[in-house]
């Protein structure tokens, strides 16, 4: 059945013993990929997210056309059709975060973690394989979703409202980074799942970080708000990554991306370290 390299007669049990070499990252990544695609909940989440993200983008730009005549010159000038088309990203990010969290926490709640660690006891390798597979899958879906959202929502615009195309300066970058944002949020979800290990607690924590932190800066002075808000994930997505017309007091798109990557690296790193140290 398997190659008989390394066969010894002291082990008549196995099919000629295990082959040479050892289990690898690639095998664990394949395991994680099969796990991800074999859950109906993951497929439904992706579908629901697509409907919301595309639908909201179309709706918001459709309403912009109706509103255009009532907008001031100044508002018309700063109107950013690309940014407005990605309104649904605010909800899509929650789905991405939840998928990332659940990829880890569902293993603990179901007991699957025992089977997973029996198959891949090298915990650092396991955490990195899980994170890599999830990031790759969400990146792929996120990019497809971002492009479809862009084209579908821009199609709602017509004269006199300016419509963006991929040739519009900054538009292609905004679309690509919108997709990448979802992958980074999913990674932060994986990290939070590894650290917290309980679905509800981890998802709540992420919702607080993503949705509530911007509001928590409101009691502070404007200067404090300007100095801190630009580092919050939600604000980076809205004001840096997907904005084509620069928004004051925000990071540049690439700086925003770098900050998010740093967050993801720190959270996944901490989660991996804890997974390696704690009893399962």
């Amino acid at each position: 059945m398997t190659s008989a390299v390394g066969t010894t007669t002291t082990r008549p049990g196995g099919p000629g013993g295990a082959p040479s070499g050892h289990y690898r990252f690639r095998g664990i990544a394949r395991m994680e990929w099969i796990k991800l695609r074999s859950l109906r909940s993951v497929r439904w989440t992706a579908l629901g997210t697509a409907v919301i993200m595309i639908g909201l983008g179309m709706l918001v730009l459709h309403l912009a056309v109706a509103r255009w005549g009532h907008m001031s010159r100044a508002d018309q000038r700063i109107f950013d059709p690309v940014n407005n088309g990605f309104t649904g990203l605010a909800l899509a990010q929650l789905a991405a975060a939840a998928v990332g969290v659940l990829a880890v926490t569902s293993e603990y709640s179901s007991g699957m973690i025992r089977a997973t660690l029996a198959a891949a006891p090298g915990r650092v390798r396991l955490a990195l394989a899980k994170a890599a597979v999830l990031a790759a899958a969400v990146l792929l879906i996120g990019e497809v979703l971002a492009f479809v959202t862009f084209f579908a929502s821009e199609a709602m615009l017509h004269a006199p409202v300016p419509r963006a195309t991929l040739a519009t300066p900054g538009a292609l970058r905004a679309v690509v980074l919108a997709g990448a944002y979802l992958a980074l949020i999913a990674l932060i979800g994986v990290g939070a799942g590894l650290i917290i290990r309980h679905s509800a607690a981890a998802i709540t924590t992420l919702c607080v970080v993503i949705l509530l932190l911007p509001a928590l800066t409101l009691p502070f002075s404007t200067s404090v708000q300007h100095a801190t808000q630009k580092f919050l994930p939600e604000i980076i997505a809205e004001n840096s990554l997907t904005a084509v017309k620069p928004i004051p007091y925000s990071l540049t798109p690439w700086m925003g991306l770098a900050v998010l990557m740093l967050y993801a690296a720190v959270v996944v790193g901490a989660g991996t370290w804890l997974l390696a140290r704690r009893d399962a």
Partner: protein, 240 residues
């Protein structure tokens, strides 16, 4: 071979396993006995590398579990029946595990057939009865055709036919020269399948013996077992 040497495991202030040492050799089914809370599951979790020992060590074939080259091809384990995601089909569950250790997908169908789950392999595992979940656990343990098998209370939830089946299966695997280590809190479940016995209570080794030897010590095997463990039973009920 499984070797446990001076193993100690604490959870907070509770010492679950206390300087436990024993060996499990290939060729026979070895029973792992002790009352509830004796530390059987903890010992198995440490052998599997799920929990880290506070002292001593546990090795399989001379190596710690985390050092195994092809874990599933060297050790097959079922610690708790429900060690799968309820939303995944039995087949997908096994395919995912197989992929991690480069085990061909055809082997998944083989083990499904061995445990009798082929007909329901396409159903979500969350719909399985306890007996079926137990069989899926056994299938996962057999996946890599390993030389060492570790099963925690494998007869739980099985019907009499299932119990007889698993006895036969484990006996057959041991007869092929594999190391088979099976825990139970009921001596009667294990007596018919096992030769050597490791008996523990309150985390300590009470005896490393055999079924034959133990049954010579009292009127019945059950009496002998209860004599051995009476001092270390954690929870006592009353008859009236």
């Amino acid at each position: 071979m499984i070797a446990v040497q001076g193993l100690t495991k604490r959870y907070g202030r509770t010492t679950a396993v206390d300087r436990l040492s024993f060996e499990v050799r290939p060729g026979q089914v070895t029973g792992f006995l002790g009352p509830n809370g004796a530390g059987k599951s903890t010992t198995m979790r440490v052998i599997m590398g799920l929990d880290a020992a506070d002292g001593g060590r546990a090795t399989v074939g001379g190596r710690a579990y985390q050092q195994l080259r092809w874990p599933l091809r060297e050790v097959g384990a079922m610690l708790e029946a429900r060690s799968f995601h309820p939303g995944r089909t039995g087949r997908s569950h096994l395919r995912a595990l197989a992929a991690s250790n480069d085990i061909p997908a055809a082997r998944v169908e083989e083990v499904l057939d061995v445990v009798g789950l082929s007909a329901v392999a396409g159903r979500r595992a969350g719909t399985y009865s306890l007996g079926m979940a137990q069989r899926l656990g056994v299938a996962a343990a057999l996946l890599g055709d390993p030389g060492v098998l570790l099963l925690d209370e494998p007869v739980n939830g099985l019907d009499p036919e299932g119990i007889r089946w698993i006895r036969g299966l484990l006996g057959g695997l041991a007869a092929q020269g594999r190391t088979v280590f099976v825990s139970s809190h009921l001596i009667s479940e294990i007596a018919q399948a096992a030769g050597p016995l490791v008996v523990i209570g309150q985390g300590r080794l009470l005896a490393q013996t055999t079924v034959t030897e133990l049954s010579r010590q009292a009127a019945s095997l059950e009496d002998a077992f209860l004599d051995l463990t009476s001092a270390s039973v954690a929870y006592h009920g009353r008859m009236s």
